[in-house]
Each structure stands twice: as C-alpha cells, then as structure tokens.
C-alpha cells in the first residue's frame, strides 16, 4: 500500500515537474517572443528613421523695416510679443530680447532659417521720431543698415491626433549644463545603471515609507522614457515590470547618449492651449522664447526642475514656485560642482524672464484651411501632421488680426444697429468675410472666411459662390473704354441714356431697374458707374456686346460660369469673393494680372526646399482703359455710392465699387489703393435677404480695415502714357464751349477724344 502511495506520489511529482518544465518553456518562449517584439518595436521607433510625429508649421511672410517707414510702436511691440521676444528694461543681451524706450528700439534679432538663406541674429538699434523710423544700426558694430527683416510669425501648427508639439533637438545642440541639470535632478546615476537602478528604488521605497506617502519614484531616465514613449501612464505592478524589462532591453541596444537624446525630445513639459509641449526644444521656445542652445544656466535649471511637475513650476502661472524650484536645482548643480560659485551667484540673481503668453494657437484658421487645401495634392494630412514641414506663406499677421477683429465687431454692430430690418428668428448667423491682397504680387495678406471659425468653418471667401451685383459693373465699363475692342468709342464723359427699356432674354422680357426705382435721363458713363445706375449699365453692355463683357471678365481672372445674357452686366452670375478680389487687382496693377498666391515655399525641417511658388503675372489689358476705369471708380468714393467712406473717416486716395444683389441677399464692397486691395462681403448662408446695401453693410468693414492697415495714403494711381485730359461739355460729352455751359476736363485715351463741339448739338 505504502509502495503504491509512494509510487503514486512519485508519479504526481514527476507530472508536476513535467508540467512545471513545460510551463517554464512556454514562459521562456513567451518572454522571448515579447522581448523579440519589444526589440523590434524599439528598433523601429528608436532607429534612424522618424521617431516622433512632428506637426508641420505654417508661417506668415517676413516683415520689412527701413528708415522712412511709418511705425506704430504699440503694434510693433505686439508683433514682437507674438514672435515671443522678451521685453527687457534697459539693454538686450541675448537673441529674442527687446527694449522700447523713448522712441528708441533695441532689438536682438534671432537666427532664422529662411528657405533661401540662413539668417544669423544680431542686435540693432532703431531710432524713431513722430512715428517714423529715422535710422537703423547694428549695436555691435555701429554699422548703419538700409533695412532689416523680422522673421515670419508662426500662424498655426498642423497636429495629428496626439496633439503633441515638439521641436526636435540633437544632443550636441543642448547645452551641457541643461543635460547635467536634468541628470542630476532626475537620475543621478544615469551613466552607471543598466536601465533600472535598484539603489534608487530602495532609496525611494525608504523615503516613501518614512514619509507615509509616495514622494519619490525611483524611476531612471530610461524608465521615464519607456513609460512616456512606449507605455501608458497607468499605475500597475505589471506595467512597472514591463517598464523595467523594456528599459533593460533599451539600454542593451542603445548607447546612453542615444537614450538621453530621446529623453530630451520626449519628456512632457507642459501645455500650449490644447496641445502638449514635449521635449526641451519646444519647451525652451514656450517658456523662454529662444532656441535650447541659447538657454542660460538659470533657465536650464528651471527647465530641468519642471520635469517633475510642469504645471506646479510653470513660470507663466507660478513664478514663485518656479523660482524656488530653479534655485533648488541651481544649488544642487553648484554642490555637485557642475557650475562655479560665480555662475551660481549670477544665476540665482537672474530674474525669470518669459515672453508674453499668447493664448491663440491658430492666428488665421480660415487661411490655414485654405493653405492646407492648396497643398493637399502634394502633401497629405498624414505628411503634414508627422513630417514637421515648414510652410512659408504670404499672410501678414497684423493685417489678419485687424481683419478678424473688424469683421467680428462690424457684423455684431450691424446686428445691433439694424436689428429692426434684419430678419427675425433667423436660423443661422449673419456672416461676413474679408480678403486683402497685394495687387502687384498677388500675395494674400489677410483672409477672414466668416465671423467665427469655431461656429462655421465654411470659408465664404474661397468656397462661397455668390451673386456679384454691381461689383461686376467695372468690367462692363472696362470693355467699353477699350478702343481695341472695335465698335463705338466710349470714354468716361460719353453720354448714355438711363431711361427704362426692355429686351428679350431667354424668351422673356427683361427690363432693368435702378436701385432707387428712378430714371436719370442722359448721364455720363462716369456718373452711371459712380452712382451704379443699372439701366445705363445694361444699355452700355448691350451696346458693346455681351461677349466682349464676358471676355473682359475672363481675362481679369473670373473662372466661374458666365453667360452673355443681359443680366450679366448687373452681376447676376455667381463667383467666389476670392475670384472677384483678384479680378479687381488688374485695376491697381495697371492691367497686369498677378495670380493668387498663398504659399511661398514648403521646406523640410532639415531645410530642404520641397516646393517654391513664384509670383506669376501677365499683362492682360492695355493700361489705358484700365486707368480710365480706375479714375471712375475713384469717383465712387468721392461722390458716388461709397461716398459714405469719407464720412466714416477714410480720407486716402482709393477707388472701389459697392455691390448689392437682388432682394438684398449680398452686400459687397471691393476697394483699392495703388498698393493694396480689400474686399468685404456680408450675407446669409441660405441667401435670406439682409435688407442692406453694400454701402451700408460691407463698406464700413472695408473702411475700418483700410484705416487700420493702410491709413490715409495720398499715393495716387499712375497714369500711363497716352492719357489726356480734354475739356468737354458735361451734357453732351463733346468739346466744351462756354455757350454750352461750364465744361469739365475728363480723361481720354489720346486719339479717342471727341472732335465735335457741343455747339453742334445746340444747332449752331
């Protein structure tokens, strides 16, 4: 019996050993598999290939300053703040610092890598007087400068789902004192352990037990990297084990320097709005407005100290805590002989200097979407969110911010002041949009696609097809003034009837009416356009031929559908405001059409230019008829439908045209100076009438915007060769004679002026 029991036990023991052995083998296989998988994953993620998703960055255009340029010091200060320059009180010592005092600006320009040049920063002095730059000179050499440019502003970052913002740095770009400080404060034995540090764990356990709470984790830098990079922040025993295993594998496969570089790029260091700031490169930008290589010892100490609790030691929000923590790190660095006594004392005295915090993470959301769309065929969303491309654009951030503010405030004012005429209980908000461009280059300078991007991402500038109303009329007049068209000559002083008429169109009678429901008899073309008479304009279009009008609009750049029907002349067809703005740019640009341009270049984060867009322009009209049309459009603001611009306080030389569509569905104003063009539009998405004209709803937006960005410029439009002024009789458009009444001088293309005297019409 005993023998039977013994044999049975022996069999059980043997079975157990067998099972245990198999279990062990399975465990080893699983561990081996896990290790293999982990190693492969590590190899992939820490290999020479891309390690992190780096958001691409969209930049504005650079800004140019030179002696003689008007400068608003407050606006200049705002620009420096947006560029994260740091204000000093008396002198500038490092890149990204400025002083503005008694009309003098001291500015330490930063290094910046432009697509075609690497700019190395230096300090400058700008002397101003009565709002004008008087001189610019280098502070270091005293050399006088003819101009300087400020680096482009960061408009937006294109994030992936992780919403992590990161600027990659190489280990040799990081100052040694920052590396020392981080190792000292986070993992003193970094260069001695194998990924895990039993001594540190024991020390942490003892500390935690004696403090009755968890005060120290005992994690090495490698473990922190593994936790942040590979694992979740979940606290569990199994995760700790996993973390330890991967840390050891990591140490076996990679050098300490590789691990440290990865750590410096990975570590979480705070928030910028909804995106997280990871790595010392981006954190240096956020907290100190400079590249990591330019950090002082004190700044490096603070950054190292922040790793433990970025929120608690955030220098924007908790300056005292940040100061205390920084000084603690500095003391440890001094005690560990990483810094000398002099360095320590100097660093302790250094104030914590942060740039002004900017709350907005996207300065031009509609423009950003537009740019992404422009480059979508070449760069997918995936590439944009991962590759860290730098996209240089044409935007002027000062103009963009002014445009956004003006559109928002003016639309709110319209809703307030004209609540009685706006539709009641309307679903969907009143919308407004504005675009400004530089006609000579085609650069988009500001784009506001709607009143509130958070509520509606529909870009009313580039996506909305709207009837143009009277804003189309200048193309009719341009066609009429062009002597190469053939047929009858027209000049601004030519007379046309503004009496009601009917014409058959599409099997129906079509009879245009004026905005004021009146007829004005014989009027000059100048008056007809300045006062936006529909009847006279329709007559003119029919007289010169509707095909000629379509041809002019096409040459000006309108690509949307247009048909040669009588209502074309009054703006019955739909175009996007973007098209309309560019079509108008031929007026200030003397008949040359510059193609719209928003992206200047796309560059990899290593500086390789992937794409460069050139200014593209072409002469599409003779400058003479263009100049005649512009001269009439000037009258629109002087006494015509946009005369309110003067009452609203715009006194510069400008030309433009109002537009109001059928039943007051759209209100437009397109206006320009010789150097700048802006278009404002107001309406509802569903075409509900707003019951307001272009002059009432859109013009005030244009006026406020132009007053802010252009001011009252007195620069006039350039007259081309072959333009003459001839004294004509106002009533007949023929040569003036005192017997016909007082004559006026008006513009003609030389050779097209009248030969007949007004007296012939008086029967003499």
């Amino acid at each position: 019996m005993n023998g039977f029991i013994k044999r049975k036990r022996k069999i059980h023991l043997f079975g157990f050993i067998k099972k245990a052995f198999f279990g062990f083998i399975v465990f080893l296989l699983l561990l081996g598999g896990y290790e293999y998988r982990s190693v492969k994953r590590l190899e992939h993620q820490l290999g020479r290939s891309l390690k992190w998703d780096i958001p691409s960055k969209i930049y504005s255009d650079a800004a140019y300053y030179y002696p003689g340029l008007s400068i608003d010091l407050l606006e200049f200060k705002r620009k420096l703040e947006r560029l994260e320059y740091r204000e000093r009180t008396d002198k500038v010592e490092g890149q990204g610092e400025y002083v503005i005092k008694d009309g003098t600006i001291l500015l330490y320009l930063r290094d910046f890598e432009y697509p075609t040049e690497k700019f190395l920063g230096f300090p400058i002095r700008i002397e101003t007087s009565e709002g004008v730059i008087k001189s610019i000179s280098r502070l270091d050499t005293g050399e006088s400068l003819s101009s300087f440019k400020l680096e482009p502003e960061l408009i937006a970052r294109i994030f992936g789902p992780s919403m992590e913002d990161r600027t990659l740095v190489k280990l040799d770009e990081v100052p040694s004192y920052l590396k020392d400080a981080i190792i000292l404060i986070e993992d003193e034995r970094f260069y001695k352990h194998i990924g895990i540090d039993p001594a540190a764990i024991l020390r942490a356990v003892i500390k935690d037990i004696t403090s009755f709470k968890i005060v120290e984790g005992g994690s090495t830098l490698t473990q922190q990297l593994v936790k942040n990079y590979f694992l979740t922040s979940k606290r569990s025993f199994s995760r700790k084990i996993e973390e330890a295993i991967i840390s050891v594998i990591l140490e076996l496969k990679h050098s300490k320097d590789e691990i440290l570089e990865a750590y410096l790029n990975e570590i979480y260091l705070g928030q910028r709005g909804t995106s997280s700031v990871s790595g010392v490169g981006e954190a240096s930008r956020l907290y100190f407005g400079k590249d990591v290589s330019q950090l002082t010892v004190a700044e490096a100490a603070l950054l190292a100290g922040m790793i433990r609790a970025p929120k608690r030691y955030n220098p924007f929000l908790q300056k005292d805590s940040a100061m205390e923590r920084r000084n603690f790190v500095l003391k440890r660095m001094y005690e560990a002989h990483y810094i000398s006594k002099d360095d320590y004392e100097k660093a302790i005295r250094e104030p914590i200097l942060t740039p002004t915090r900017t709350a907005r993470t996207n300065l031009a959301p509609y423009f950003t979407d537009y740019v992404k769309n422009e480059i979508a065929s070449a760069y997918s969303e995936d590439v944009l969110t991962k590759e860290g491309l730098r996209i240089f654009t044409t935007l002027d951030v000062s103009h963009q911010l002014a445009a956004e503010r003006v559109v928002k405030e003016e639309i709110e004012r319209l809703e307030r002041d004209y609540a009685s005429i706006l539709p009641k209980d309307k679903v969907g908000e009143l919308q407004g949009a504005l675009i400004s461009i530089q006609p000579q280059t085609g650069y988009i300078r500001a784009m506001v696609g709607g009143r509130d991007y958070e509520k509606s991402q529909f870009n009313h500038i580039s996506q909305a097809l709207r009837q143009t109303g009277s804003t189309f009329k200048p193309f009719v007049y341009l066609a009429a003034f062009d002597p190469t068209r053939g047929g009858a000559f027209y000049a601004p002083s030519s007379i046309i009837s503004d009496r009601s008429f009917s014409v058959e169109a599409g099997g129906k009678e079509w009879s245009p009416q004026n905005y004021d429901k009146m007829e004005h008899g014989d009027v000059s073309l100048r008056e007809a356009l300045a006062y936006s008479y529909n009847i006279a304009t329709a007559r003119l279009a029919l007289s010169i031929g509707l095909d000629a009008v379509v041809d002019v609009a096409r040459r000006a750049g309108i690509k949307s559908e247009l048909s040669p029907v009588p209502s074309l002349a009054l703006g019955a067809f739909e175009v996007t405001p973007l098209e309309m703005a560019y079509a108008y740019s031929i007026f200030p640009n003397g008949g040359i059409r510059a193609e719209p341009i928003s992206v200047i270049s796309v560059v990899t984060r290593d500086g390789k230019v992937l794409e460069r867009k050139n200014m593209e322009m072409k002469r599409v009209f003779d400058p003479k008829p263009v100049y005649l049309t512009t001269s009439v459009l000037k009258d629109v603001l002087e006494y015509g439908t946009a005369a309110a611009a003067r009452k609203l306080g715009f006194h510069g030389i400008a030309a433009g045209k109002t537009g109001t569509t059928d039943n007051y569905r759209d209100a437009w104003f397109v206006g320009f100076t010789p150097d700048y063009l802006a278009l404002a539009w107001v309406g509802y998405d569903d075409n509900t009438p707003i019951n307001m004209s272009g002059a009432r709803a859109a013009l005030p937006i244009w006026v406020r915007f132009m007053k802010e960005v252009v001011g009252d410029s007195k620069k006039d439009f350039t007259s081309p060769d072959g333009i003459i002024l001839v004294k004509v009789d106002k009533n007949t458009g023929l040569l003036a004679s005192p017997k016909c009444g007082e004559g006026v001088y008006d513009l003609f293309i030389e050779g097209t002026e009248p030969e007949e005297s007004c007296l012939t019409r008086l029967g003499r």
């Binding site: 003689g68 003819s146 003397g590 007259s719 040569l735």
Partner: protein, 168 residues
C-alpha cells in the same frame, strides 16, 4: 462827333467787341484748365466747330514714389545682384523678392527678379514679370531697351527649348 466816327464806333461794337470778349474768355478758361493738373500740353488748339480742343496731359510722374522704400529696396537689389553675378540664383531670387515686397513699384527689382528666373530657366514667369517692369519704366528709355533685350533673349531661349524638345 461826326457821322463817320459814330459809324466806326458802332461797327466796332457790333463786330470787334464780341471777338475781343470771346478771346478774353478763352484765355481765362485756359488758365483755369491749367490749374487742373498744372501740366499744360504743348499741343496746339484746333478749331472744332467754332471751339478750341483744350487738352492737358496728366503729369508723367504723377505717382508719388516712396523714396525711403525705394532706397531700401535698391540696397537689397544690390545684394541680389552680387549673388546673381556669382550664379547663386536661388539666393538671389530671395533677395529680389524682398526688394519687390519692400517697394512694389521698383521696376529695377522686377527686372532683376525676371533675370533671376531666366537663370532658373523659369522663362514664362520671367516674361510676365518683365511686363510689370516695363510698365514701371515708362519714361526711362534705357531700361525699356534693357527689358526688350531680355525679352528677346528669353524668347530665343524658349524657342531653343521647344526646338530641342521636338521629337526627331
């Protein structure tokens, strides 16, 4: 007063005085016209149905050149020219872009921008930019000539390119 003298005075009042008045009135109108632009033309008046054709020419330089911007722009053009001379076309392009953005009515900046595009073989872009340069050189014949020469050069290059790309 004798009958003869009275007859002469009456004839003078009937024929000569109105002519004198018309002449005075024209002189006055002419002066007023001069005030419109301040640049009266040299074109002679013609008799058109009993009235003169009164013509003025707008000043040929009636646009206000922004001298500070022009100076700053020209300094950048000089930097760009040095790069272009060294054959560093990409870098020169950046400079001439800057020069145009500083002063968008600087014809010289457009001219060299076009020249840089020729260097980069962007011929059609260069031709378009020369259109702009030409429009800004209205009264500068030596620059107009330079623009025309460059245009001709570009057209030749374009013709060469299209010839060489034709299948044999």
């Amino acid at each position: 007063m004798s009958y003869k003298i009275r007859k002469i005075v009456a004839l003078f009042l009937v024929f000569a005085a109105p002519l004198l008045l018309v002449s005075c009135a024209r002189t006055w109108d002419g002066k007023r016209g001069g005030r419109v632009s301040g640049h009266a033309s040299g074109r002679g008046p013609g008799d058109k149905g009993g009235v003169q054709k009164e013509i003025l020419r707008p000043s040929e330089t009636n646009y206000a050149m922004n001298l500070p911007a022009r100076n700053a722009s020209m300094a950048v053009v000089e930097d760009g020219k040095k790069l272009l001379d060294k054959g560093e076309c990409e870098q020169a392009l950046g400079k001439f872009h800057d020069a145009v953005l500083i002063d968008n009515s600087n014809g010289v900046a457009y001219y060299y921008l076009a020249k840089t595009h020729v260097c980069l073989k962007n011929y059609s872009t260069a031709l378009g930019i020369l259109d702009k340069a030409a429009s800004l050189f209205a009264n500068l014949p030596q620059w107009i000539e330079a623009v025309e020469l460059l245009k001709k050069d570009i057209e030749e290059k374009m013709a060469d390119t299209s010839n060489t790309s034709k299948p044999l």
